[in-house]
């Protein structure tokens, strides 16, 4: 499973939450591929995935969160997509 978190550089909200979300994702799904991408550096990629607001989270190519989710919301979304397999 691949997760891409698009963020705005200098966003204090993102920096504080990214590490927490990443740890929760890695704990929820074994072998998860987690990327944090600056929307400025990879603007075309963000547009291609339909990202219009920041932060946004794309799971396996699907735009799932258009604002920062809670750890629980992210965990639920990940588990739902991998059929509850940890």
């Amino acid at each position: 499973m691949k997760v891409v978190l698009f963020y705005s550089p200098g966003c204090s909200e993102c920096v504080a939450a990214q590490a927490r979300l990443r740890a929760a994702a890695e704990e929820a799904v074994r072998g998860i591929e987690w990327r944090e991408v600056s929307a400025v550096e990879e603007l075309d990629y963000a547009v291609e995935l339909g990202v219009l607001s920041l932060p946004s989270i794309v799971i396996d190519g699907e735009l799932v969160f258009t604002s920062m989710p809670s750890v629980q919301q992210l965990r639920d979304a990940l588990l739902e997509r991998c059929g509850g397999r940890g």
């Binding site: 705005s8 200098g10 204090s12 929307a39 603007l43 547009v47 339909g50 219009l52 607001s53 920041l54």
Partner: protein
């Protein structure tokens, strides 16, 4: 922000009526009233007779609004920017985030427009014979096919 020579002169003026502010900032009186209605602009004071009075800060605010509009921000988004601008705890990153989001939205629209343009290219190319009767027009037929497909997919 660039100021016109006329605007430089206005900085020496303390009080502006709505008409003066409108002519200095090149917007109409109605627009200024609309900005007030939308929470973007407040008169600095009211005259004893109840007329709206503005100051230099009002003129700077109008220029800010106009410039932001030129960059594609909606009035609701400009209101947000104005709130950020006046908040002491705001950092540049907060404003930059909104600028990046606006850029994403614009690029997304460009992408959609390019797709539409490409679809039109295809239709134009399909209509090779301009003298054909409209019943045999490839463009009309293609649009009708698309309409049918959409109805089938909805079911």
């Amino acid at each position: 922000m660039e100021y016109t020579p006329g605007f430089r002169v206005s900085l020496e003026v303390d009080v502006l009526t709505i008409g003066k502010l409108a002519s200095l900032t090149d917007v109409s009186n109605d627009t200024l009233r609309y900005y007030e209605h939308e929470g973007l602009l407040e008169p600095a004071a009211k005259s004893p007779a109840g007329y709206r009075l503005y100051d230099d800060a009002s003129a700077r605010r109008i220029h800010f609004i106009k410039h932001a509009q030129q960059c594609g921000f909606t009035l609701a988004q400009i209101r947000e920017l104005l709130v950020l601008r006046s908040r002491e705890t705001t950092c540049c990153g907060d404003v930059r985030k909104r600028a990046i989001e606006k850029k994403l939205q614009i690029e997304s629209k460009i992408k959609a427009m390019k797709a539409m343009s490409k679809a039109l290219d295809q239709l134009i190319a399909e209509c090779a014979n301009e003298s054909q009767p409209v019943k045999e027009c490839a463009i009309i037929a293609a649009l009708e096919r698309a309409n049918t497909r959409a109805r089938v997919q909805k079911r």
